[in-house]
Symmetry: C2
Subunit: 335 residues, 2 copies
Amino acid sequence: MFALKKTEIVQKILGERVLPTDASGEAYAPANIALCKYWGKRDPELNLPVNGSLSISLQERGTRVSMAPSERDTLLINDELLAADDPKHVRLFDFIDLFRVDSAPALRVDTQSSIPIAAGLASSASAFAAVVMALDRAGGWNLFARELSILARMGSGSASRSIYHGFVEWHPGVLENGMDCFAESLYLQWPELRVGLLALNTDTKKVGSREGMNRTVRESVLYQCWPDTVSRDLAEIRTAVQERDFTRLGAAAESNACSMHATMLGCRPPLLYWLPETVETLHRVWGLRNDGVSAYATMDAGPNVKVLFLEREESALREAFPLLDVIQPFASVEV
Amino acid sequence: MFALKKTEIVQKILGERVLPTDASGEAYAPANIALCKYWGKRDPELNLPVNGSLSISLQERGTRVSMAPSERDTLLINDELLAADDPKHVRLFDFIDLFRVDSAPALRVDTQSSIPIAAGLASSASAFAAVVMALDRAGGWNLFARELSILARMGSGSASRSIYHGFVEWHPGVLENGMDCFAESLYLQWPELRVGLLALNTDTKKVGSREGMNRTVRESVLYQCWPDTVSRDLAEIRTAVQERDFTRLGAAAESNACSMHATMLGCRPPLLYWLPETVETLHRVWGLRNDGVSAYATMDAGPNVKVLFLEREESALREAFPLLDVIQPFASVEV
């Protein structure tokens, strides 16, 4: 894949720095859940988003990447060797090629994921963030976090946010080359916050997120309202996080997620990632709220539901959802 | 209820005509399914819609109303006497009061409905249309169909369409008094068209359609896109009906229904009439299409699904949905 714009950005950021022939490095990056969603690109090559987004990183759930010189490019995902023509292999080494010039070595890349299988957590976000951080270490580049974020973004949009722990805001920027389009930590702690993962369905999605996003932008009349929706939601979510106002955060995040899925319903034919279990779960979360339990749902481009709540509601949530996988985003994390 | 604007319209249409003391009459009006939905009012008292809509009437599924002078106002629905403070009794006689002056009699109103219980067919549409037609006969007024449509609309918005059989378009109009806001028959036959009703859930809705509509207009940022969505869909549905292009009709009607539900997801908290069975049914309809069976779904403000298809697909549909209630909108109907 020839990626002129990406190459230019890498050169701009790396300058004289290169990947040495003995390049080897290791890094970990957390998965993240968007509280205000990324949905739609203004530049598909550079993954520049239409709108800003805000996420919470999932602490110990993420991807560890180690890389070392090798005879030929090799990718192992959770100890499983991928074929050289596997789309994941191709996508990763197309990306790594952006950083290799002349004498740069072939690499063996080992990725270990602690993301529950099919929980609807985009593993590409933590993987590309960790790859960029591992490259930085392998090359001894000492890049700034926002430079790592820009580079990770070019691998997978939401990877820009997985550079950080805790609350993260990804700025959409206005520049054509995306040099002002990076994520930053909000430097805020909220130790009581919990994210519950519900893996409702483990089948492969019929329509990938990238295709879903592109179809929505192209086909859905309702997508025209998405930028306004995000303007409102993003400001509100940022304020709610700053003020540790959980009710406000939950209401805005849930509304934002539902609005994103709503934009997909305007496609032809309608695009619906939800399954019966999704709707059952949503009604159950709303039923809990009716009973005084403060819990809110969010969903990404898939059928699975993530539940936001505070520590004090954990037992009520575990009772309602026995299979809930509870994440503590701020458990001994420095942000 | 004091309804100044409504009273003015009734006077404008009736002129010198009144309801005689021996007023008695009988009429039938069909239920209807909107292929392009009515969602949002520009005037809540007169039920003037934000957008035009287009429906198909359900032939023998509807409401028969007979009325006759009586000692006191009495409403029977399917032979069951309602209390005088029942909201349905109050709503009906508030409406009938618009037509009664001075010596007009108390009335006994008998309604018989052939609409399957809880199939998500607004029974108020056929009921108010039949009431207006029965009043017209009782008074010997001989009103034009579009006048009946305006009067029925003031009882229940979609009742404006139930004055007619077959395909019906309801014009939104631009006048403040709504005198240009009435429905008309498209005068088109499509004998092969079928509408399948699926009563998935018979519980009372937690949020009535009127409240859902009002909440969406008030709370949902996505509603701003609804008028544009309808402009596109309505033109396409009208053309598809005129050209008997079923694929185009189905695709546009399904998209319009999904877009309407999408606007509700933008409410806070999100408004979702769908149940797990709704989503299961939608995926099954889409699965049928994938298998070459031309069928499309539509839904109103409730969890139940209506399926559009042509005669030749009837056995495939009955196999997929054993409980399907198949309506032939054009079975020996003169439009």
